[in-house]
């Protein structure tokens, strides 16, 4: 396949620009170290991590009891047991 120089140049520029883009970070805190199966499950639940090319950093936080908490910038996705207990407390407060 012969690619003309203009197209070649365009492709190069595109790749450069993509590489130059700062990579988005996602911090994942878990109560226990995640194995590969858990990571796959996590990617399934948070599909945008893979699709939008996030750099995922895994950390341990035993105070979560179980589950994970994902922080992306100022946004937080709470899938932890601690978070669920907090929600339960709020729900019980509203009900009673």
């Amino acid at each position: 396949m012969i690619i003309d120089s203009a197209t070649k140049r365009e492709i190069k520029d595109l790749i450069k620009s993509r590489l130059m883009q700062p990579q988005k970070k996602a911090l994942v805190f878990s109560a226990a170290p995640l194995d590969e199966e858990d990571k796959i499950l996590l990617m399934r639940v948070l599909r945008f991590l893979k699709r939008d090319n996030f750099a995922v950093i895994y950390s341990l936080d035993e105070s979560l009891l179980a589950g994970v908490v994902v922080k992306i910038g100022s946004k937080v996705i709470d899938l932890s047991l601690k978070g669920k207990l907090t929600n339960l407390r709020q729900t019980m407060y509203e009900i009673s």
Partner: protein, 166 residues
């Protein structure tokens, strides 16, 4: 007549003297004196008349004074009666206002107490829930080992059936 000691000439002279004296007395003393007396009498009558008139006027004045005093007394009593009525009315108004204010204060206070009670209840509820969650948290962190945490994490990820978008 001479034997009796009566002198005719002397008698005549006495008589003339008497007549002259009478005439002079009547003309120059009695008449003016009578006139003076009648004038004095008239004056006296007039004085009496004036006195009577003044007495009458005095009586009239006293009567009028009495009437005015009665009128003033009546007006005073009327004013006093009105003032008493007004005072009663004002007193009733003040009492009614005070009652109304007192009721408002009582109602407001009851409402405040109710609000404070509810607030306190909410605070207690919050504290109890906080304590309960804390106890559960503590219990779970002591109870769950690494294996259990991992299993629960896997379960949570599996049960998050819908995908989460950012």
């Amino acid at each position: 007549m001479e034997n009796l000691g009566i002198d005719g000439k002397l008698m005549l002279a006495q008589l003339i003297n008497f007549v002259l004296f009478f005439y002079i007395f009547k003309r120059y003393i009695a008449k003016p004196f009578a006139k003076f007396l009648s004038q004095e009498k008239e004056k006296e009558v007039q004085k009496q008349k004036i006195l009577a008139e003044m007495q009458q006027k005095e009586e009239d004045l006293a009567k009028k004074q009495e009437e005015l005093k009665k009128k003033a007394d009546k007006q005073y009593e009327e004013a006093l009666r009105k003032a008493k009525l007004d005072a009663e009315r004002v007193k009733s108004l003040i009492i009614a206002e005070a009652r109304s204010e007192a009721e408002q204060i009582v109602t407001k206070r009851a409402k405040q107490i109710e609000e404070e009670k509810n607030k306190l209840y909410a605070q207690v509820k919050d504290k109890v829930l906080e304590l309960s969650v804390f106890v559960v948290n503590k219990a779970l962190s002591d109870f769950l080992d690494q294996d259990a945490r991992k299993k629960i994490t896997t379960e949570i990820l599996k049960n998050s059936s819908k995908t989460i978008k950012i």
